[in-house]
Amino acid sequence: MKFTLSWLKEHLKTEAGLDVITEALTRVGLEVEHVEDPASALAPFVTAKVLEAARHPNADKLQVLKIDQGDGKPVQVVCGAPNARAGMIGVFAAEGTTIPGSGMVLKAGEIRGQASHGMMVSEREMGLSNEHTGIIEMPEGTPVGTPFAPLMGLDDPVIEIAVTPNRPDCLGVSGLARDLAAAEIGEAITRKPQTVKGAYPCPVKVTLDLDDPGLAPAFALRMVRGVKNGPSPEWLQKKLRAVGLRPINALVDVTNLLTIDRARPLHVFDAAKVSGDLVVRRAKPGETLLALDGKTYSIDETMVVIADGNGVESLGGIMGGEATGCTDDTVDVLIESALWDPFNIAKTGRALGVHSDARHRFERGVDPDFTVPGLELATQIILDLCGGEPSDIFLAGEIPDTRRAIDFPVSEVKRLTGLDLHAAEIKIVLQNLGFTVSGAGEILKVAAPSWRPDIHGKADLVEEVMRIVGLDKVPAVPLPKTESISCAVLTPLQKRARTGRRALAARGLGEAITWSFVSKPQAEMFGGGKPELALANPIAADLSDMRPSLLPGLVAAAQRNADRGIAESALFELGQIFLGDGPDDQRLAAASLRRGQPRHWSGVRAPDAFDAKADALALLSALGIDTSRVQIVPGGPDWFHPNRSGTIQLGPQNVFGHFGELHPRLLKQLGTDGPLAAMEIVLDDLPEPKAKPTKSKPALAISDLQPVSRDFAFVVERRVRAADILRAALKAEPKLIVGADVFDVYEGKGIPDGMTSVGVAVTLQPRDKTLTDAEIDAVSEKIVAAVAKATGATLRG
């Protein structure tokens, strides 16, 4: 909403300056977004008289002027303007002035050997027009040494405010004045429209032909015949231009004037072009309208139109039609002041993509009680500007009574804001805003004015009081401390998310946050792509589906880094993935991705499945999962290398993640260079930590007896899994065997083809006495037998 300071002052009698007014607007909730004060840029420019003009001794096209700028100390200026001559009055800028047209700062200097202390300026240099054939000439008798801007009426600041959707009354200057007056910035002096007596009945009648009367509750129409239309007077054109509107002709300009002045959109029809009476009805399928913006709109039965004998003539409350628009030739004019349903206006405007000042106001709510007064005011101005003879007003429908009485305990102000105000103060604020307040004591009866559709209850009244009294008056009061020392506030999953991030970062990974949406092919490649997870209106084709996995985002990130010349990426993300569109279908996952390793003197190894496994197990361990109990099953989902990947589980029904190298075919489809090692774990699927009755840890059981280690070299078929060998070894004598680990894996000379030698170190922990060699040998035999039974292993000869 744009308006000028002088326009505001037509409605507000105030001594307050621009700064006080803008500050007050923001304070009451009408946020000032921008103030353009042309006077400030033009302030250094004053009128000045040319006392002498002499030919420049060294240049044919230049003159040396003596300038009187009103201070009795003439200065010399070198000027190239052909119209510069002694006796004329122009506009002078002294040294140090910034020229608005060029942004140049004037400096004292010499021009071809003659001193020059400033400049006589043209309109273009002032940023006023493109006129640059000569310097500005002021009328004879203009006082010398006067600031130029006010003389030309260029000192009217333009204020732009953001009006929140609940305040349609402030889409008119009169409404702003009312708020400012309530905030004690002045006195509201908006004139009440006078009734204009009609000389004859309105010759055009209006029928409201609607299944839902709420779509257009009232429609007032009046003819003014015998007007003389044409360009509106300069004061009106200037006013409209100042707020960014283009003057059209007097009749149209009057409607725009009232839109801005009183937040009352109107429409004018050229009566000569209207055939018969008007009917307000739903549009029929297939109807179209060539609107005043020059565009043709296809309209349908959800939209409300004004039609005559020729068909649709106007989109009610949004935009008029070209066919019945007023031109300079209009003689008889029909002025419409109607009420429309805000929701339907919003819907229609949205469907057609029309943004008009009328729609903007009607979809927020126009003061119903001002329907007829607005028409009276428009009539009076039209009579003043264009002459003519008014008819009576024809009113179809009726003005809805929107008054609502609200019981308002004044204690609500204190309850909701902490502001301690006297009941009388509260009453005055509300009355100044136009509310009707009756009753005294603790509970007031308050009725909102017709222009405030946003007021429904007590809280709304509290807001009114609070914003006018000022939020700066609200005391800051400490939030009461909780009664005990804060206990843990995070859920187990939230804690895991935090710990998980730190654990993965401590593995040398950098945390990425990638989009929650990926392309459809990416979603499909990683097990997603369900139709219910596709966006109906994606921002880009490659951000179309909610991600089923964190990996496609990380793969794409690694490739972006590679494309920037950074071959190595070690990234993780911890965030949501989507298995369905229900509230319980979202999961929290953690994934890592490693690509490349910088060359280093200590050796280089491209990240592989074991790096991914290490990331996964480090994460699990940090999250309190006993990794010795976790099962690693070879193989994983399709997006992994079939023979270099693993599934992490606690049994087949309890899978919670995968790791490995990503499938080369998939990387090719994604346009990504591999190899990439990755893992992904769904944190929701991890077993919850068990609540323990005590924080005490079990007693430490250590033996005084030294553990004994024995090494075995098992020769097995290559398909045999190390995990199976270790499990068999551990189970061979559970009472004694406390550990088994692989210390060597060998294939080659001495080992038959297709076989692998796996070196296993088994640790025995004697319990109550040192083991004899015979006892150790007996356990060893059990181990060999157990591993042989489980895997077919033989001891390496």
């Binding site: 009451v28 929701f343 804001t417 800051a476 401590a506 109906a536 972006r560 990234l571």
Partner: protein, 360 residues
């Protein structure tokens, strides 16, 4: 006697000449071994008279002791020399650069770090952390929050819609974290003190808007929470978060469908330099929206607005991170450029706490 002296001199000479431990051992054996030259002198004692034996024996023993000492001394010197030689051979160029350690290389994203900072501050005030789904229904994202169907305020949200389901229901990507207010109030018993961080989505993209961003919402519901407390809470939060002694805050009346009264909050800052400085200067910057929870929202959650009351606020985590840590471009947050992550990210052990300070 002179023979013995000559023998001693000769052996001592051999000891000094021994260049390694093996040569020294040979000298020892030749002198003190069973068949050694000194042992031979001792063997002569048996053929001597008691007096001769006494004096010569003492002399030979003295020589033997001196030789033994010389051998030990020489052995120690040779050992040191051998170790020195070994150490010299083991020389390593310790100026060779290391591979960065994992702890050095790892990074936490600023959004995660700032979210933890915010949680640390509010945990001190007794707030817990609530979360909710990103895919929401119209009811939670709009209707229950007092956005009437067709209201222009809905249109201001640039909502992402999912493809309509079998029942024709059109799910949305939540446009704010406020639906979690509804979920909290509907499932838990008041009073409430929660913060709600999370991802939010709007169909909008330019230098300061990304289609996905992070918000944190705060909600206090009890029997006395009012705007004065909201004001205090926000001032204290901003001071703690920006780690500055004073924050000047300006509250402006505004409009949100789900709060009444509604307020926008600006903070004083200085934007004249290359970085924004909070708490000084002459500019105002909008930082969050807040207000008293609208009576309709309370009613929609089964709470009587005459009994329960409270306030809520919402702010952009990404934006707070940018203001505090100086990232210029929001889009880079979601680009996963490893250089950006390394530069703006936090180290794995930079744990934001109130006792240790939010940032180091």
């Amino acid at each position: 006697m002179s023979d013995l002296s000559a023998l001693e001199a000769s052996i001592l000479n051999d000891i000094a000449a021994a260049s390694d431990e093996a040569a020294l051992e040979a000298v020892r054996v030749a002198a003190l071994g069973k068949k050694g030259s000194v042992s031979a002198e001792l063997a002569k004692l048996g053929a001597m008279s008691p007096d001769e034996r006494k004096s010569y024996g003492a002399a030979v023993n003295t020589v033997r002791d001196r030789i033994a000492a010389a051998l030990a001394d020489r052995k120690a010197k040779l050992g040191d020399a051998a170790l020195d030689a070994k150490l010299a051979a083991e020389a390593a160029d310790v100026t060779l650069p290391l591979r960065p350690s994992a702890l050095e290389a790892g990074r936490i994203h600023p959004v995660s770090q700032v979210t933890e900072e915010i949680a640390a501050i509010f945990a001190d005030l007794g707030f817990s952390v609530a979360e909710g789904p990103d895919i929401e229904d119209d009811e939670h994202n709009f209707t229950a929050l007092n956005f009437p169907v067709g209201h222009p305020a809905r249109e201001m949200h640039d909502t992402f819609f999912l493809a309509p389901g079998a029942n024709g229901e059109r799910k949305v990507l939540r446009t704010h974290t406020s639906p979690v207010q509804i979920r909290t109030m509907r499932t838990k018993t008041p009073p409430h003190r929660v913060i709600i961080p999370g991802r939010t989505y709007r169909n909008d993209s330019d230098q300061t808007h990304t289609p996905m961003f992070h918000q944190v919402e705060g909600l206090v519901i009890d029997r006395g929470a009012h705007i004065g407390q909201l004001k205090w809470t926000l001032i204290e939060f901003l001071k703690a978060f920006f780690e500055v002694p004073e924050v000047e805050m300006r509250m402006r009346p505004s409009f949100f469908p789900f709060t009444e009264p509604s307020i926008e909050v600006d903070i004083r800052c200085d934007r004249s330099g290359p970085e924004i400085r909070i708490g000084e200067g002459k500019d105002w910057m909008e930082i969050l929206g807040c207000g008293m929870v609208h009576p309709n929202v309370l009613r929609n959650c089964g709470l009587d607005p005459d009994e329960w009351q409270g306030f809520a606020w919402g702010m952009g985590i990404d934006r707070l991170a940018m203001l505090k840590y100086g990232m210029p471009d929001l889009r880079a947050f979601f680009d996963a450029d490893v250089r950006w992550i390394e530069h703006y990210g936090f180290r794995p052990l930079d744990l934001p706490t109130l006792i240790g300070g939010l940032s180091s």
